[in-house]
């Protein structure tokens, strides 16, 4: 050991302290009054990888079993209602009025165009003397 280390050790030993009887009694009394704190829950130990595989497979198997049981019970307990065509449930849609409303202006326009065309045709015939 080097000089400095020796000196530090020696000097530490030269610090005179004593645990007095009074302090000793105080410590003993406080130790008796204190109780160890409640044990903390132990941290779970690391599980081997096989454990995780086994628990995963067990979980999947359990889920499949539950799904199968639920489906089986549904099939057995609940009578399947007869199929009703959806189209029959729908109220019939009246299209006539709406169609008329939509096409009336167009038809009117068409008539106007046809009459214009007829007038133009007559005018051309008059002009060329037919």
């Amino acid at each position: 050991m080097d000089k400095l280390a020796n000196r530090l050790r020696r000097d530490a030993e030269r610090i005179n302290v004593t645990v007095s009887d009074e302090l000793d009694h105080r410590i003993e009394a406080s130790l008796r009054a204190a109780a160890p704190a409640e044990q903390r829950p132990q941290a779970p130990r690391a599980r081997p990888p096989l454990f995780w595989w086994a628990s995963t497979l067990t979980g999947i198997a359990a889920a499949l079993a539950v799904i199968a049981i639920v489906n089986f019970q549904n099939q057995r307990d609940e009578p399947v209602p007869p199929a009703v065509p959806v189209a029959e449930l729908q109220p019939p849609i009246v299209l006539r009025m709406e169609a008329a409303m939509l096409t009336a202006p167009l038809e009117e326009e068409l008539e106007n165009l046809q009459s214009d065309l007829k007038k133009a045709e007559e005018k051309v015939r008059r002009d060329i003397g037919l």
Partner: protein
Amino acid sequence: MTSELQLIDAAKAGSADAFSDLVRGYRERLLRFLVTRCASVADAEDALQETLINAYRYLDSYDPRWRFSTWLYRIAIRNAGKLHVADVRFVDEADLRDEENDPLLQCIAAAEKENLWVAARRLLNDDVFAAMWLRYAEDMSVNDISRALDRSVSWTKVNLMRGRRALDAELNGAAEQSEAYG
């Protein structure tokens, strides 16, 4: 003769007697360390009492891979730190280093006033001082010191070296001075 581990097991089971036997050999060593850290001998005694009570209460958290003394010092350093904060708040800073009130100087014989730990406390900060104490007064390994101080191993190594350098300079400077005056 009961081993330390047997005493620890008995104390964990709630035996205050077993715990007293367990820490009997550490009390003076801890008190000596606490005297260097606290503002008065009474504070150091309070810190010792608090350290031992906390150690007993939380003995369940002790990891047997550590040395028991390392664990005790860790608690003592925390307690001393708490007291130190309180002291700085309530006691005039000048009083802390006043020779009459200084617990470390009170515990050193008049002929021993050149105790290097007095210089260490003046030159080093609290953590470096504690590291030096644990290394040279308690002969702890670097790993144990880093655990006790909750510092990295590299921090501990670097600061032990810095502490040594500072104290070497102090020691050599004092020697040169005494040669010059002698």
